[in-house]
């Protein structure tokens, strides 16, 4: 018999969760993506709060399982994963480190956007190709491989690339 592990602190939980990556874009962590909204520890009970990117994001169950698995690996099994909708996730919560990782991975990061409600469609952003740096790019389709991305093409290097939509 080994003794049960000591209850973690919130900081320890955060350190472990800092390694949990997005299932669809494995170079960026859920913290950098802005979907990890809170960690609370009461006694040995860990509450992790996450928020979906898009309403129908099919990765949410996967993310919950990854969070549980990461904490379970440290012997912390008394874990509750809560999903909150409000305030609604926005790409403005994505960290600068996260944006740079996306760019290095070949995904044009979301542009920052003005605050306030969205009532009219945004104009097309001007994107820089994450592969060659050219600004001569065009959108191929607003809806791409996942809900959170659109598909673009660079007219200089001729390569297609994903864009993480500002949202």
């Amino acid at each position: 018999m080994t003794a049960p592990p000591a209850p973690p602190t919130a900081a320890q939980v955060r350190t472990v969760l800092a390694e949990v990556t997005d299932p669809e874009i494995p170079v960026i962590t859920i913290d950098e993506l802005g979907i990890l909204r809170g960690v609370d520890v009461q006694g040995g009970h860990v509450v992790v709060t996450i928020t979906p990117t898009y309403s129908g994001c099919p990765a949410m169950q996967e993310i919950e399982a990854d969070v549980r698995s990461a904490l379970s690996g440290r012997g912390w099994d008394d874990v509750e994963v809560r999903s909150v909708l409000s305030p609604a996730w926005t790409t403005d919560w994505m960290s600068d480190a996260g944006r740079e990782k996306l760019r290095a991975y070949g995904i044009a990061p979301p542009e920052r956007r003005p605050a306030g409600p969205v009532l009219v469609a945004l104009g097309r952003p001007r994107l820089v190709c994450p592969q060659c740096g050219s600004a001569d790019t065009e959108e191929l389709t607003r809806f791409a491989s996942t809900s959170c991305k659109s598909l673009w093409r660079c007219r200089s290097c001729r390569e297609p690339f994903d864009h993480f939509k500002a949202h």
Partner: protein
């Protein structure tokens, strides 16, 4: 991971309203799925199914909320899969047949031009779950509207044939729009409580958006005076039963099946 708690107070009015919103999203999402592998191009397959996925995500949350507020122990699956046609509360526009690609995008324009101001208004609903869903859905609906607008303009202001067909599609689905702005006793009570959006405030926004897009697309605003209604009280179009049969048969034939 459901929003809200199990100790939610029973509120049958708010439950009925969440059911309307959820059924609208669920049924249109199911309709759009019929385009899978049948769209004119791969990008459109992906786009229409992305829109369907957004709608399905909102529907799951809204049906879960309807079940909580009803207090009878029904969850999202019970409501989606175990109700019969007369128990669904979707508007007729959301269940209307896809027709051709032009008709599907014309319907999407009319729906999204309604949902953008609807979700915007519901972002401050006094029901915190409806407000939370709306706060996410409004951003998604803006993409849907932008997509529908660009296609309706491209088809309407395109060739004679594309113009003729998208105008015909528009005429086909247009009569179902008047139901979106109907008031009834339920809405009167819920607007007064700040739960529901006031249809009188949505109508001018919708008319302005749709009018602007149709003008740019060189399409005519349909002049029909036929105003069919009934979806909110469970009287649906002929094709609705077939949609439900496809959506529900697996769950009903194999209760509790998992894979």
């Amino acid at each position: 991971m459901s929003p809200g708690g199990t100790d939610t107070a029973v509120d049958l009015d708010a439950s009925a309203y969440a059911l309307r919103l959820g059924d609208d999203a669920l049924v249109l999402g199911q309709r759009l799925c019929e385009w899978a592998a049948r769209s004119p191009e791969l990008e459109e397959d992906v786009a229409l199914l992305n829109i369907a996925l957004d709608l399905l995500g909102a529907a799951r949350l809204l049906l879960s909320r309807a079940g909580e507020l009803e207090g009878a122990g029904r969850d999202e699956d019970d409501l989606a899969f175990l109700r019969n046609e007369p128990e669904f509360r979707c508007g007729l526009l959301f269940e209307a047949a896809n027709g051709d690609f032009g008709q599907t995008l014309a319907r999407q324009l009319l729906v999204s031009a309604y949902q953008v101001p609807l979700w915007h208004a519901l972002g401050s609903s006094t029901d915190e779950v409806i407000a939370g869903v709306a706060g996410k859905a409004v951003k998604e609906a803006v993409y849907h509207l932008d997509h529908a607008r660009s296609w309706v303009v491209r088809l309407g202001d395109g060739t004679d044939e594309s113009h003729r067909r998208v105008q015909a599609g528009l005429e086909e689905v247009w009569p179902y729009t008047s139901e979106l702005f109907e008031r009834d006793a339920l809405l009167d009570r819920l607007v007064a409580r700040g739960v529901a959006a006031d249809p009188d405030l949505l109508l001018p926004v919708w008319e302005a958006t749709v009018g602007e897009v149709l003008a740019e697309a060189t399409l005519e605003v349909p002049q029909t005076t036929w105003r069919p209604t009934g979806g909110r009280s469970g009287r649906h179009l002929t094709g609705f039963g077939y949609l439900l049969a496809e959506m529900q048969h697996l769950h009903r034939s194999h209760p509790g099946a998992t894979w």
